[in-house]
Amino acid sequence: MRQKSIKKILISGNEAIAEGAIRAGCTFYAGYPITPQNELIGYMAEHMQDRGGVFIQAESEVAAINMVYGAAATGVRAMTSSSSPGVSLKQEGISYIAGAELPVVIVNIMRGGPGLGNIWPGQSDYFQATRGGGHGDYRCIVLAPANVQECYDMMILAFNLADQYRNPVLILGDAMLGQMMEPLNTSTKFVIKNVDKSWALTGCKDRKPNIVKSFYMVKGDLEKFNLKLQKKYEALQAKEERWEEFLVKDAKLVLVAYGSMARIAKAAVKTLRLKGKKVGLIRPITLWPFPKQAFKKPKDKYLVVEMSYGQLIEDVKLSLSVNAQVGFIGRAGGGFPSEEEIIVKANKLYNG
C-alpha cells in the first residue's frame, strides 16, 4: 500500500509563526522591523493583503501595539511581533490591552540584552513576559514553542485562548527558533473557535453604544475590575497549564527548560540515558500560567537550564512544595549552555 505523502515545506520559525497566524484567522498585523524577527514582518507584508487582511508597517513598536489594540477593539484577530527592545517599548500598550480585556497576540523573538544587546538568541525577557511586563496587576498568557512545527501549530491555540479569555497572549521564542529552518507540515487542521464579541466597536446600530477602556474613575470600581481579572487568572491557572514530559517517570534528576533551550536539554537527557543515568526533562509550554502541576510529585533533584541568569528557576522553586535540590545552569548575552556543559552539571548534581 502506498503511504499518503504529507507535503512539507522548508521554512523558518518566524515564517511559520506568520503563516500559522494567517491560517488562525489573523486579519490585522502591524509591526516595526527588528532583527531577529524580520522574516515575520516580511512574510506578513508579502501575504497579508493578498489573503484579505491588513498589513501596516508602523512608525514604531509603540504605534504598532496601539494599532493592534484598535483592530482588536473591533473584534478582528490582530497580531504584532518584535524582538526584545521593541517588546519593551510595547509594554504600556500591552498593559492597556490587558486593562481593556482585548484579545491580541504578541510575538517576542528574544535577543540578547540588556539595552541594544545583540541579535543572538536569549531568554532574558522571561520575567518581563511572565510577570506582566507593564504597569498594573495583569498577566499575559505566555506560550513557548520549541520547534518550527510548534511555531505554526501554536498560533491557533494563541488566537483561540486570546479570544476565549479576552487576554493578551505572548508567543515567546528566541533568535535560534525564529531563524532556524525546518520542514513544516501545514496539514494540521485549525479550528477557529468563534466566541461572542458583542463588546466590539462596530457602530451602535440596533444596540447600546460599546466602550473599550481601562479607566475607572469611581472609587472602588478599579478594585472590582482587578478582582475580576484575578478570577480570570485563577481560571487560566486551573485550566490552561501545558507542558511536555520526557522520561520523567523513573527519573532521579529532572532537567527543566523551555523553547529552543529545551531541545539542547533533551539531547543531554538522551546522552545521559545512554550512560544509564535516570534523567528526564520537563518542558513548560505555557510559561504563564506556569505548569505547577508538573511539579506536583517532586523528584529529588532538578536542574534548570536557561539562556538567562536565573529567571525560570524562580517559577520552578515556587512550584515545588518540598525542599528539592534545584541546580542551575544558565548563560545569556548570546551564549547558551551547550549539551556538554549541561551533561557535566547534570552528572555533578546526579552523583552529588
Binding site: N66, M67, G70, A73, T202, P209
Partner: protein
C-alpha cells in the same frame, strides 16, 4: 413652528465634569450635533484621548474607545483600516497630539489615513494641573514655566497644523476658535467639513480649535475668551491652513 433648539441624540443627557468656562463641553456638543446632522451615529467610532477629555465616551452616545496618552491616531488607523464602513475620529489635546503623540500624528497624516481629527489647543496641560504644553505661548506662565515660557529654554509654541499641512497625505486643515458665538459657528462648519471629507473618502482632515482653560490660565472665563481673541490668535492665526 420650527424647532430651533433640541438636545443632540448623540449626546447623553448628563452633567459633565469640566470646569466653568472650559471649551471641551462646547466641542463635545458640536461633534454630537454634526454626527446627528450627517446621520452617522450608528456608524461613528470616537477615540477619546488621555487628557481632560478622557471620559468623553461618558458624554457621547455612540461607540468609543479610549487610547493611551498620545496614541489615538494609531488606534484610529487600525479601526478605520479594518472597518472602512465606519466613521472614525480622534479627539485630542495639545499634549496628546503634539507632544507625546507627535510621531503617531505625523505618520497617520503622512499615510493619508481617511480619518477626522479634532485637535483641542488650550496652550496647557489641563488634566495634570496646568503644565507647559507644546503650544504654550512665549512668556505664558504655567506650573512648569513659573517665570513664563522662555524660547531659549523651552523653545517656541509648536505649530503642528502648519507642519502637517506640508504632507501630501493631508487633505484638509483648518484652525478655528471658541472665543465668540461667530467663531463657534465657524468651528462647527469646519468640524462638519472634516467629517464630510471622511464620508466622501477624501482623506486626512484635521480641525485645530483654540479652546479656553480658565482654571489653569488663572483668569476668569470671560477674560479667557478675550485672551484667545487678543493674544492666542496672533500666534495661532485662524482660518484654512490647507
Amino acid at each position: 413652528m420650527d424647532k430651533i433648539y433640541t438636545h443632540p441624540r448623540a449626546l447623553r443627557k448628563t452633567v459633565t465634569h469640566y470646569c466653568p468656562g472650559c471649551g471641551h463641553g462646547i466641542l463635545h456638543r458640536i461633534i454630537a450635533e454634526v454626527v446627528d446632522e450627517l446621520a452617522i451615529r450608528e456608524k461613528v467610532i470616537g477615540i477619546a484621548p488621555v487628557g481632560c477629555a478622557v471620559i468623553a465616551y461618558d458624554y457621547w452616545d455612540f461607540d468609543c474607545s479610549e487610547a493611551a496618552h498620545g496614541r489615538a491616531l494609531a488606534v484610529a488607523t487600525a479601526i478605520k483600516r479594518v472597518r472602512k464602513e465606519n466613521i472614525v475620529f480622534t479627539y485630542q489635546g495639545d499634549g496628546d497630539l503634539a507632544a507625546i503623540g507627535t510621531n503617531e500624528t505625523i505618520h497617520a497624516a503622512n499615510r493619508g489615513e481617511n480619518l477626522t481629527v479634532i485637535f483641542i489647543n488650550n496652550a496647557i496641560y489641563g488634566m495634570t494641573g496646568g503644565q507647559m504644553a507644546p503650544t504654550t505661548l512665549l512668556n505664558q506662565k504655567t506650573a512648569t514655566t513659573p517665570k513664563g515660557r522662555n524660547a531659549q529654554l523651552q523653545g517656541y509654541p509648536l505649530k503642528i497644523s502648519e507642519m502637517l499641512a506640508l504632507l501630501p497625505g493631508v487633505k484638509y486643515i483648518e484652525r478655528t476658535s471658541l472665543h465668540s458665538p461667530q467663531e463657534i459657528i465657524k468651528t462647527k462648519k469646519a468640524i462638519k467639513q472634516a467629517f464630510l471629507n471622511q464620508v466622501e473618502n477624501i482623506g486626512f482632515s484635521l480641525v485645530e480649535v483654540l479652546s479656553p482653560c480658565p482654571t489653569y490660565w488663572g483668569i476668569s472665563p470671560s477674560q479667557s475668551l478675550n485672551w484667545i481673541r487678543d493674544t492666542m490668535v496672533k500666534e495661532f492665526p485662524l482660518g484654512r491652513i490647507k
